[in-house]
Protein backbone atom coordinates (compact mmCIF):
# COMPACT_ATOMS: atom_id res chain seq x y z
CA UNK A 1 0.00 0.00 0.00
CA UNK A 2 1.21 3.52 -0.81
CA UNK A 3 0.51 6.00 2.01
CA UNK A 4 -1.22 9.16 0.76
CA UNK A 5 -0.45 12.53 2.33
CA UNK A 6 -3.61 14.58 1.86
CA UNK A 7 -1.75 17.78 2.78
CA UNK A 8 0.55 17.35 -0.22
CA UNK A 9 -1.75 16.12 -2.95
CA UNK A 10 0.44 17.07 -5.93
CA UNK A 11 3.30 14.90 -4.65
CA UNK A 12 0.90 12.11 -3.64
CA UNK A 13 -0.68 12.03 -7.10
CA UNK A 14 2.78 12.01 -8.70
CA UNK A 15 3.72 9.05 -6.51
CA UNK A 16 0.57 7.19 -7.57
CA UNK A 17 1.27 7.92 -11.23
CA UNK A 18 4.88 6.76 -10.92
CA UNK A 19 3.63 3.59 -9.27
CA UNK A 20 1.22 3.04 -12.13
CA UNK A 21 3.96 3.48 -14.72
CA UNK A 22 6.52 1.28 -12.96
CA UNK A 23 4.07 -1.43 -11.91
CA UNK A 24 2.38 -2.01 -15.22
CA UNK A 25 4.58 -2.20 -18.29
CA UNK A 26 3.09 -1.42 -21.69
CA UNK A 27 -0.17 -0.25 -20.17
CA UNK A 28 -2.72 0.74 -22.81
CA UNK A 29 -2.76 4.60 -22.94
CA UNK A 30 -6.53 4.67 -22.45
CA UNK A 31 -6.33 2.42 -19.37
CA UNK A 32 -3.48 4.57 -18.08
CA UNK A 33 -5.55 7.73 -18.50
CA UNK A 34 -8.60 6.21 -16.81
CA UNK A 35 -6.54 4.87 -13.88
CA UNK A 36 -4.82 8.24 -13.39
CA UNK A 37 -8.16 10.02 -13.71
CA UNK A 38 -9.83 7.83 -11.07
CA UNK A 39 -6.89 8.20 -8.65
CA UNK A 40 -6.97 11.98 -9.05
CA UNK A 41 -10.73 12.12 -8.48
CA UNK A 42 -10.85 9.75 -5.49
CA UNK A 43 -7.85 11.28 -3.72
CA UNK A 44 -8.99 14.85 -4.39
CA UNK A 45 -12.35 13.88 -2.95
CA UNK A 46 -10.64 12.65 0.23
CA UNK A 47 -8.66 15.87 0.55
CA UNK A 48 -11.71 18.10 0.05
CA UNK A 49 -14.60 16.28 1.64
CA UNK A 50 -13.55 13.37 3.86
CA UNK A 51 -14.48 13.77 7.51
CA UNK A 52 -11.78 12.26 9.73
CA UNK A 53 -13.26 13.78 12.92
CA UNK A 54 -10.48 13.61 15.53
CA UNK A 55 -8.53 10.85 13.85
CA UNK A 56 -5.20 11.34 12.09
CA UNK A 57 -5.92 10.72 8.40
CA UNK A 58 -4.73 7.29 7.32
CA UNK A 59 -5.17 6.97 3.55
CA UNK A 60 -3.47 4.46 1.30
CA UNK A 61 -3.60 3.21 -2.27
CA UNK A 62 -2.74 -0.15 -3.83
CA UNK A 63 -2.52 -1.22 -7.44
CA UNK A 64 -2.91 -4.81 -8.64
CA UNK A 65 -3.13 -6.34 -12.06
CA UNK A 66 -5.81 -8.88 -12.87
CA UNK A 67 -6.36 -11.20 -15.81
CA UNK A 68 -6.91 -9.78 -19.28
CA UNK A 69 -4.99 -6.57 -18.53
CA UNK A 70 -7.57 -5.39 -15.99
CA UNK A 71 -6.41 -3.18 -13.12
CA UNK A 72 -7.59 -3.24 -9.52
CA UNK A 73 -7.28 0.05 -7.65
CA UNK A 74 -7.79 -0.22 -3.89
CA UNK A 75 -8.26 2.85 -1.70
CA UNK A 76 -8.33 2.54 2.09
CA UNK A 77 -9.08 5.38 4.51
CA UNK A 78 -10.18 5.92 8.10
CA UNK A 79 -12.62 8.78 7.44
CA UNK A 80 -16.34 8.59 8.21
CA UNK A 81 -18.12 5.97 6.08
CA UNK A 82 -18.67 7.15 2.52
CA UNK A 83 -19.98 4.94 -0.26
CA UNK A 84 -19.60 6.69 -3.59
CA UNK A 85 -21.98 4.19 -5.15
CA UNK A 86 -24.74 5.85 -3.11
CA UNK A 87 -23.70 9.34 -4.21
CA UNK A 88 -26.29 10.85 -6.60
CA UNK A 89 -25.21 11.58 -10.15
CA UNK A 90 -25.16 15.21 -11.28
CA UNK A 91 -27.43 16.35 -14.11
CA UNK A 92 -25.55 15.65 -17.35
CA UNK A 93 -26.00 17.85 -20.41
CA UNK A 94 -28.82 20.34 -20.83
CA UNK A 95 -28.26 24.07 -20.58
CA UNK A 96 -25.13 25.94 -19.53
CA UNK A 97 -27.06 27.71 -16.76
CA UNK A 98 -28.19 24.40 -15.27
CA UNK A 99 -24.80 22.68 -15.49
CA UNK A 100 -23.56 21.64 -12.08
CA UNK A 101 -20.04 22.12 -10.76
CA UNK A 102 -20.02 19.22 -8.30
CA UNK A 103 -20.18 15.45 -8.57
CA UNK A 104 -18.59 15.05 -12.00
CA UNK A 105 -15.49 13.25 -10.69
CA UNK A 106 -17.53 10.55 -8.96
CA UNK A 107 -19.87 10.29 -11.94
CA UNK A 108 -16.99 9.78 -14.40
CA UNK A 109 -15.28 7.31 -12.04
CA UNK A 110 -18.49 5.24 -12.12
CA UNK A 111 -18.59 5.49 -15.92
CA UNK A 112 -14.97 4.41 -16.42
CA UNK A 113 -14.97 1.56 -13.88
CA UNK A 114 -15.97 -1.94 -14.93
CA UNK A 115 -16.78 -2.79 -11.33
CA UNK A 116 -16.83 -0.93 -8.00
CA UNK A 117 -17.03 -2.56 -4.58
CA UNK A 118 -17.28 -0.71 -1.29
CA UNK A 119 -17.23 -1.88 2.31
CA UNK A 120 -16.60 -0.38 5.76
CA UNK A 121 -14.50 -2.68 7.96
CA UNK A 122 -12.75 -2.05 11.28
CA UNK A 123 -13.33 1.71 10.96
CA UNK A 124 -11.85 1.83 7.44
CA UNK A 125 -13.54 2.57 4.13
CA UNK A 126 -12.29 0.10 1.53
CA UNK A 127 -13.02 0.99 -2.07
CA UNK A 128 -12.06 -1.44 -4.83
CA UNK A 129 -12.30 -0.27 -8.43
CA UNK A 130 -11.69 -2.55 -11.39
CA UNK A 131 -11.05 -1.07 -14.81
Amino acid sequence: MIPIDLAHMEQSLLLVEQNLESFVSNLDPEQHYKATFICEEILTNFARHANFENRTPNVSFKLDTLEQEALLLTFRDNAQPFDLLEYPDPKIGGDLEEAELGGLGIYLTKQYAKNIQYCYENEFNILKIIL
Binding site: M9, L13, E40, D95, L96, A99, L104, G105
Partner: protein, 111 residues
Protein backbone atom coordinates in the same frame (compact mmCIF):
# COMPACT_ATOMS: atom_id res chain seq x y z
CA UNK B 1 1.36 24.96 -16.23
CA UNK B 2 2.02 27.49 -18.97
CA UNK B 3 -0.90 29.61 -20.20
CA UNK B 4 -0.29 31.46 -23.47
CA UNK B 5 -2.77 33.87 -24.99
CA UNK B 6 -3.08 35.94 -28.15
CA UNK B 7 -5.72 37.56 -30.32
CA UNK B 8 -7.02 36.55 -33.73
CA UNK B 9 -8.97 39.66 -34.72
CA UNK B 10 -11.62 40.15 -32.04
CA UNK B 11 -11.17 36.67 -30.65
CA UNK B 12 -9.09 35.99 -27.56
CA UNK B 13 -7.36 32.63 -27.75
CA UNK B 14 -6.10 31.11 -24.51
CA UNK B 15 -3.77 28.13 -24.76
CA UNK B 16 -2.94 26.31 -21.52
CA UNK B 17 -0.51 23.39 -21.64
CA UNK B 18 0.12 20.36 -19.42
CA UNK B 19 -2.39 19.01 -16.94
CA UNK B 20 -5.69 20.76 -16.26
CA UNK B 21 -6.19 19.04 -12.92
CA UNK B 22 -6.78 19.82 -9.25
CA UNK B 23 -3.33 21.33 -8.90
CA UNK B 24 -3.42 23.55 -11.98
CA UNK B 25 -7.11 24.40 -12.57
CA UNK B 26 -7.05 27.31 -10.06
CA UNK B 27 -4.19 28.99 -12.02
CA UNK B 28 -6.17 28.59 -15.25
CA UNK B 29 -9.32 30.07 -13.68
CA UNK B 30 -7.38 33.01 -12.27
CA UNK B 31 -5.77 33.76 -15.66
CA UNK B 32 -9.10 33.53 -17.49
CA UNK B 33 -10.67 35.92 -15.00
CA UNK B 34 -7.84 38.42 -15.57
CA UNK B 35 -8.06 38.11 -19.37
CA UNK B 36 -11.85 38.58 -19.35
CA UNK B 37 -11.37 41.97 -17.66
CA UNK B 38 -10.45 43.34 -21.12
CA UNK B 39 -13.91 42.21 -22.29
CA UNK B 40 -13.05 40.44 -25.56
CA UNK B 41 -15.96 39.81 -27.95
CA UNK B 42 -15.20 36.10 -28.09
CA UNK B 43 -12.90 33.59 -26.44
CA UNK B 44 -11.58 30.25 -27.64
CA UNK B 45 -9.67 27.88 -25.38
CA UNK B 46 -7.00 25.93 -27.24
CA UNK B 47 -6.87 22.57 -25.41
CA UNK B 48 -4.52 20.87 -27.89
CA UNK B 49 -1.63 20.88 -25.40
CA UNK B 50 -3.69 19.66 -22.44
CA UNK B 51 -2.42 16.15 -21.76
CA UNK B 52 -4.77 15.41 -18.86
CA UNK B 53 -8.23 16.80 -18.09
CA UNK B 54 -9.71 16.07 -14.66
CA UNK B 55 -13.13 17.09 -13.32
CA UNK B 56 -11.54 20.13 -11.65
CA UNK B 57 -10.33 21.17 -15.12
CA UNK B 58 -13.83 20.69 -16.50
CA UNK B 59 -15.16 22.84 -13.70
CA UNK B 60 -12.71 25.63 -14.58
CA UNK B 61 -13.85 25.48 -18.23
CA UNK B 62 -17.49 25.53 -17.12
CA UNK B 63 -16.85 28.56 -14.90
CA UNK B 64 -15.17 30.33 -17.84
CA UNK B 65 -18.12 29.51 -20.13
CA UNK B 66 -20.63 30.79 -17.56
CA UNK B 67 -18.59 33.95 -17.05
CA UNK B 68 -18.38 34.46 -20.83
CA UNK B 69 -22.15 34.13 -21.17
CA UNK B 70 -22.66 36.64 -18.37
CA UNK B 71 -20.42 39.07 -20.26
CA UNK B 72 -22.28 38.29 -23.55
CA UNK B 73 -19.08 36.87 -24.98
CA UNK B 74 -19.00 34.02 -27.51
CA UNK B 75 -17.12 31.03 -26.09
CA UNK B 76 -15.75 27.74 -27.35
CA UNK B 77 -12.92 25.23 -27.08
CA UNK B 78 -10.88 23.38 -29.69
CA UNK B 79 -8.18 20.80 -30.28
CA UNK B 80 -8.87 18.34 -27.47
CA UNK B 81 -6.83 15.15 -27.44
CA UNK B 82 -8.75 11.85 -27.55
CA UNK B 83 -9.19 11.13 -23.83
CA UNK B 84 -9.74 14.78 -22.87
CA UNK B 85 -12.52 14.85 -25.48
CA UNK B 86 -13.90 11.64 -23.97
CA UNK B 87 -14.02 13.26 -20.50
CA UNK B 88 -15.62 16.38 -22.01
CA UNK B 89 -18.37 14.53 -23.89
CA UNK B 90 -19.12 11.97 -21.16
CA UNK B 91 -19.78 14.92 -18.86
CA UNK B 92 -22.24 16.31 -21.40
CA UNK B 93 -20.21 19.49 -21.86
CA UNK B 94 -20.47 19.20 -25.66
CA UNK B 95 -24.20 19.93 -25.24
CA UNK B 96 -23.65 23.47 -23.97
CA UNK B 97 -20.07 24.44 -24.89
CA UNK B 98 -19.09 24.71 -28.55
CA UNK B 99 -16.16 22.42 -29.31
CA UNK B 100 -14.15 22.17 -32.51
CA UNK B 101 -11.46 19.90 -33.88
CA UNK B 102 -9.03 22.66 -34.81
CA UNK B 103 -8.44 26.40 -34.60
CA UNK B 104 -9.35 26.77 -38.27
CA UNK B 105 -12.61 24.91 -37.67
CA UNK B 106 -13.33 27.05 -34.61
CA UNK B 107 -12.58 30.37 -36.31
CA UNK B 108 -14.80 29.42 -39.26
CA UNK B 109 -17.76 28.13 -37.23
CA UNK B 110 -17.81 29.81 -33.80
CA UNK B 111 -21.32 31.19 -33.23
Amino acid sequence: MEIDYYNEGDILIVAPSGKLDTTHAPDFSKRIKELFEDKPKACLIDLSNITFLASSGLQSILAAAKNAKKEEMTFGVFGMQKMAYNVFTMSGFNQFIQSFDSKEDALANLL
